[in-house]
Amino acid sequence: MSLDMKPTESLPPQHVVDRWIGRTLQFGVWSSASLMVAGLLVRWLSRAAAPLPTENPAPGEIVRRLFSTSIDDVTLMYAGLVLLMLTPVLRVLTSVIGFSVERDRKFVVVALIVLGMLLAEFFFSMR
């Protein structure tokens, strides 16, 4: 038996979940890369660049600093890195919503299991 290769057949229509996942990943990668570039630029351009903290701050602290008036290079870089780490989590969350819209219950459960493991591990690590 061989692979079923059909030159005349067209692909099934793209699922909504495929499109949403693609967009979520693009958003996560390019937003986080932009934050890191901004952080590096601020570092180079400002003379009073922030020193590196002795330990990695909690994600909540990064978000608080990001929306404060005294935003600095280290916060921008941390924000980019944390957003990048959370991008796959957002992708799984998008899958849960996408599979729900498509009424694919079995894979809503599968995506929820993966999401649950990631979130549990995230909160356990960051506590």
Partner: protein
């Protein structure tokens, strides 16, 4: 950190990301030795930086492959349950081991990667799969090289779940993607065409890497001054590597990198 250090990390990221993408290995296999040997970074920090770079390249690649429907989304999500379990265990274990032990395990992994590269170079490039249409997770994608639509189903899922658990574990332990284990398993055990197996593995890598990245971050191993330029470099390098890969074919390049990997492996072992 000086401007020259930032530039060195960025350029190092570009070079390692390019080589990784050209050889289909991801950035980590070259980035970790660069950070640990050339930059003198502690092993845990090198792994933490690599794992974040792996998320970036995986996510950027997966964004394209999902929309092109090459990824077998449902099969990938089921395997993610195993890779995430493995990655969490690997990340926790890595934080209990010394840097020297991790470097030695990494050196052994490089030997395995070299072996796999030789195997891949010798393997026939044709899609001579032997899958039937009576398995699970049916999927189809358009093979751009031949212009045909390839339909397939997946077989022996429990066995690939087991391989994914090991791949996830090694990913969390050593900061690599783990595609070097998953792609051959999906192709040879489950009968997934190599293009779909590669895209599905890459799709899973982001979630797998994120699971252990949180642990490294929480343990203070992620230095933003090192990770930011290196990750941006690897991301840029991976795009460059994919472009070069479309033009350069042949196994001579593979043999050059096999020798490089063997030398790096020796250097890492006696670091």
């Amino acid at each position: 950190m000086s401007l020259s250090s930032f530039l060195l990390l960025f350029l190092g990221g570009i070079v390692t990301g390019t080589f990784g993408a050209m050889l289909g290995l991801g950035g980590g296999v070259f980035l970790i030795p660069f950070l640990a040997l050339a930059f003198g970074l502690p092993m845990h920090q090198a792994i933490a930086t690599s794992i974040v770079a792996v998320i970036a390249t995986s996510s950027a690649g997966a964004a394209m492959n999902v929309e092109r429907q090459i990824v077998n989304l449902r099969f990938g999500m089921v395997l993610e349950i195993a890779t995430v379990c493995g990655a969490i265990f690997g990340g926790v274990t890595a934080n209990l081991l010394s840097g020297q032990t991790l470097a030695r395990i990494f050196a052994i992994l490089l030997l395995f990667v070299s072996f796999m590269m030789i195997w891949r170079a010798r393997r026939s490039k044709s899609e001579n799969g032997t899958t039937s249409q009576n398995g699970t997770f049916p999927s189809s994608f358009k093979d751009e090289a031949s212009g045909t639509v390839v339909s397939y189903t997946v077989h022996r899922v429990p066995l690939v779940l087991l391989v994914s658990l090991v791949a996830g574990n090694i990913s969390g332990l050593l900061g690599i993607g783990g595609g070097i284990f998953k792609v051959p398993a999906m192709h040879m055990i489950s009968g997934v065409p190599i293009k779909a197996a590669t895209a599905t593995s890459n799709f899973m890598i982001g979630v797998t890497a994120a699971a252990s990245a949180f642990i490294y971050f929480a343990n203070g191993h992620l230095n933003p001054f090192i990770a930011s330029p290196a990750v941006l470099g690897v991301l840029g390098g991976s795009f460059l590597g994919i472009r070069i890969n479309r033009r350069i074919k042949g196994t001579a390049l593979t043999w050059v990198f096999v020798v490089v990997l063997l030398l790096v492996s020796i250097k890492m072992f006696w670091r």
